[in-house]
Every structure is written in structure tokens, then in C-alpha cells.
Amino acid sequence: MGEGRYKSVTDTRPTDFDQYWTAVLDELANTPSAPEVERVPIRDTDYATQYSVRLTSIGPYRIFAYVSVPKGDGPFPALYFAPGYGSVVANTQQGMPNGLRRDHIVFVLAARGQRNSDKPYAASFPGLLTDGIDDPSAYRYRGIVADAVRGLGYLASRSDVDANRVAVLGSDMPLVIAGLSTAASHVVDSPAIFYKAVKRAAGTQAYPLEELNDYIRLFPERRDAVERTMSYFDTRWFASSVKAKTLVLAGAKGEPLSRDGLQPLLDNIGDNASVYEAGEDHSTYKEGVYKLSWLAKEFRLGAPVLPEHWQ
């Protein structure tokens, strides 16, 4: 399949892009977050205390998060693992060293549909990416983005968080919420879905982008609607509003998400962006060491905390 399969309109920023997101943020502002915080003693360590948090997002919809707080006096730098595409949101991202919790507040949020935020709505995988996709105002990700912004707002509101050292990490969501909120000081973004999505879907059979192909194959008459909805979520259109210092984790040379492939996105972020480009082997080890070293340097914490098998 080549990219020419769909005649894309997604290179255009919707003319009402700002109005669309202003309405979402207004709705969020009119929804009290009503945080409920509880201890999760089984995940405590000698150096950190684990809590669960429940917040209200637009809808209203009750969402779930974990927050780990170092023992001792803050304020502490914060790492926010923003929701990605997948059902499971664990207390600490799989493979991250638990020792990160010694010096950082670690916040992990499950957006609506993900486990622990799955009542009343439980997302399907595959299925989430096209849920309500015919209409931008009904698209499920509208609420998911609001949830992610709500999480950042909650984190930034904590008195034990150092507002100058708040990093949002994840796939596409860090750029999206850093484009909608100024509360993040740093962003680590691995572009995955919401960058030229429909166009890139035409060149792959891999999920989750294949969800778009499945949907358009079954409902070919809805293709324009799909493209229109996805255009409100394209990270390019958020990037120009991002003020946080940003690390973009790009794919390997020659791939759609390589540094060259992402150039329109990088141009929109501007001088705030630096890039790590993967090698052909897509080593999570090399990328992970780079990412954690970048954060440690930005947060002025000295040597990075690394998992045992990366030291």
C-alpha cells in the first residue's frame, strides 16, 4: 500500500482548531477535579510512598491515576507518564527503574477507557482509535485529551511539585497537552499515532493505525469524516504552542517517523526541540539511556537513575 491510497486533507490545520480546543478547555475548567487521594501501601518503598488519585474530567467522567511521592521534603521534580494507546496503565512504566521514585514524583494517569478508568466506558483494543471518529465532537479522544490535561493540572497544583521541573513523557500525548497547557516544563515525546495518521495508515498494515484502514474499508463513504476528525488531533497543530523544552524520540532514517519524516512537526516546535534518532535496531536500551540522561541533565540531578541492566 502506498501513501497515495487516500487523497489526504490532513496536511491542513482545521480553521476552527483553536475554537474546538478552547471549548474542551472551557468545559474542563467548569468541571471541578474533586481529587480523592488514597495510600497504596503495597507499592510503598523505603524511599517513596504510593498513592492512587481519582479526578473528575469532562463528561463528567471519573479517572484514575497513581502518584508516587519521595520521602523527605519537597518540592520534587515530577515525571508524568501520559496515557498512550493500550489498556494497562501500571503504577510505574514497565522497565523504568523503581529508583526514579527516590528523587521524583512519578505520576501515571489512566484516561477514560483504560483499566481503572474503565467504568462506565471500557475501551476496546483494537477499536478505541475509531470510536466516535465520524464526528470531532463525539470522538473518544476528545475526552481522553481532556483527561490528560486534567492530570497535568492536578500534578502542577501539588505543593510538593517543583513547577520548573515537570516533564511529560509518552507517545503523542505529551505534545498535545503541552500545546494546551503551560504547566509542563519539559516534554519527551515519541510520535506514534497522531502525526499524519490517515496518510501514514495507508502505508502500513500494523495496528493501531490499521484500525483506520479497517474502518475506512468497511465504511468508505466516511473517509472524509475520518480525515477531518483526525486533523483536530494531529500533533503538528499543537506543536507551535509548546513552550516546554522538548525531546522528540524519532524513528530510524528512512522511516515515516524519522527525523526527516518529522520535520514539519519539529519546525512547528521550533528552537525548543531536540531530537534523538533511533538506529536501525530500534534499541530501547540506547534510547532509554539517552532519555533518562537528558532528563537528569535538564533537572540538574547529576547521573541518571538507570535500570540494573543499563548500568
Binding site: P41, I42, R43, T45, G86, S87, V88, A90, N91, T92, Q93, Q94, G95, M96, P97, N98, G99, R115, N116, A122, S124, F125, P126, Q205, Y207, E210, D214, Y215, R217, L218, E280, D281, H282, S283, T284, Y285, K286, G288, P307, E308, H309, W310, Q311
Partner: protein, 314 residues
Amino acid sequence: MPTYQAAETYRSKVVKPLDFDEFWRGVDDQLDSIPLNAEVIRDPMRSTDDVDVYDVRYDSLDSVRIAGWYGVPKGVSGDLPGMLLVPGYQGEPPLPKDWARFGYAALSVAPRGKLRSNSQYNPGYPGLLTHNLTDRNTYGYKGFYADAVRGLDFLLSRDEVDSERVGVTGSSQGGALTIVAAALRSEHIKAAAAGAPYLCGFVDSIELTSTYPYQEINDYIRHHPESRDDVIDTLAYFDGVCFADKITCPIIVNIGLQDNIVPTETGFMVYNAMTGTDNKRLYTYDDQGHEAGRYLHAKIVQDFFAEQLSPRTS
């Protein structure tokens, strides 16, 4: 990180229980007493011009209803090699369209607790790894392993599957399930490929790494220190190292030498414990974490199964 030699020669603390085989024969007997009750419904949304995709349901241990995705190349009938695809710990099982395109009748299983199989059992994540961990008869992985093995029973029940040409593959937890299925169904599994096998060397792993998911076990023991011995005893019945010597088919294993989730030492350990087959090969990938060389290794896996199971390619 350990040197290659240190990882390769690491001495495991795993002790195989004396009644290990008896325990799993008992599980097998329980499975045998439960009718499969398979349902197979075509999914038009996920089917394509070249692959038919089906939503599969079947009964497993404790009569828990298990879901799967079944992919078959379109327009091909009879004598297809079967491929059992087993999932990782956190992700949802992928649709097996690519394996169907390679010429296999492929089942991607969602063992209990995965989204599509969680109406009767749902310990969550974190949670599954330590659910009812102090008793081997109730530990969540007893049913979880059985559900994966039961997927093979589904494949063997299909007219279009050649029962003499069935393979199994997966990575991470899927690597462990590959080892378990190849061991417990050694008479049927003809080839296996395990990537970065998790759930091998539990007692070693909880000392070798501080990352999740293994950290769940340390959390549990810290929170319930009185249960430590029961935990260690239970885990031995579910340790891939204890299953490994029962594998008799050709098998390939790939590991990353900088794996931050599954300690590299345990990859060597389980490979070295595969003493029941001479036809085995370990692929080690330097500068690789838990992906264990996936971008390079995927073609090796595909070629391995093509040689062992001879799919028809159009």
C-alpha cells in the same frame, strides 16, 4: 550490567518441585474434562481481501471463557500449518493477520484477565503476577497457562489445520507461554520461537532487577513478609526453567543483552535448561533491551517456521 560471560554462567536458584510433573498432569486432566465449546464468528471489520479474521471463544480451566483472534488466509482450505500466538504481560493480544498472510491458520490467545477474557477473572495490572500467589492450586497463572495451552486444543480441532504442523511463538510473557506450551504439549508442538522469555527464574529475577513487572513480587513479599516461603514454593511450579527440559521440538530463543525487564541471565538460564532437544539455537543481541533484537529477529523467526512447518505461500 553483567558481562556476557557472567550472564551466561549465572547459577540459578530455581529448584524444580519433586511433584512438578504430577501437578501439571493434574491440570491437564482437569482441562480434559472440560468441553472446548468453541464459538467462531467472522469479524468483517478486521477481515481483509487476503485474510479472514474470526472472534473465537472457548472454555478453559474452571470453565472460564477465553477469547482469541483467529486469522486464516482467504481462499485456502485444508492442510494449513497452525500457529499459536501467545501474548505479553501488559498488552492486548495482537490480531494475527500477518501470520495468516504468511500462510498459517493463526490463533492469538487472550488468556484470563486480558480485556476480552476478563468477565470471570480480572486481577489487573499490577496484580496478575501476585494474584493468589501463596498457593499453587489457586495462583492466577495456573489458569493463565492452561488458557494458552487450551488454544492449541482449539487449533487442533480445526479441519483446516494440519495437526502435524503446529508451532507456537511469543515474546516476553509470550516467550514464557511458548516454553510452557511446547513443554506441556510436546507431542503436538513441532516448532517454537521464544523471545525475551519472562517468568523464567522468578527467584533470580526479583534480585537481579528492580523494574516492574517483577517488582510486583518484591512488593508482595515486602508487604507480606510471612508468606515469603509460600511465594517461592508456588513460583517454582510456574517457572519456565522447570518446564524447559520437557521441550523436544526445534526451538529458537532470542534475548537482549541489556534487557531492563527480563534479566539477561535468566534468558541464558532457561535456554541452557532446554536439555530435551538438540535442535535449539540462542540468538543474543547486544545493545538491545527487552525488544531483544525484534527488528532484526522477526525475519529469522518467520524463516525458521517456514522451514519447520512449510506454509504454502501464494
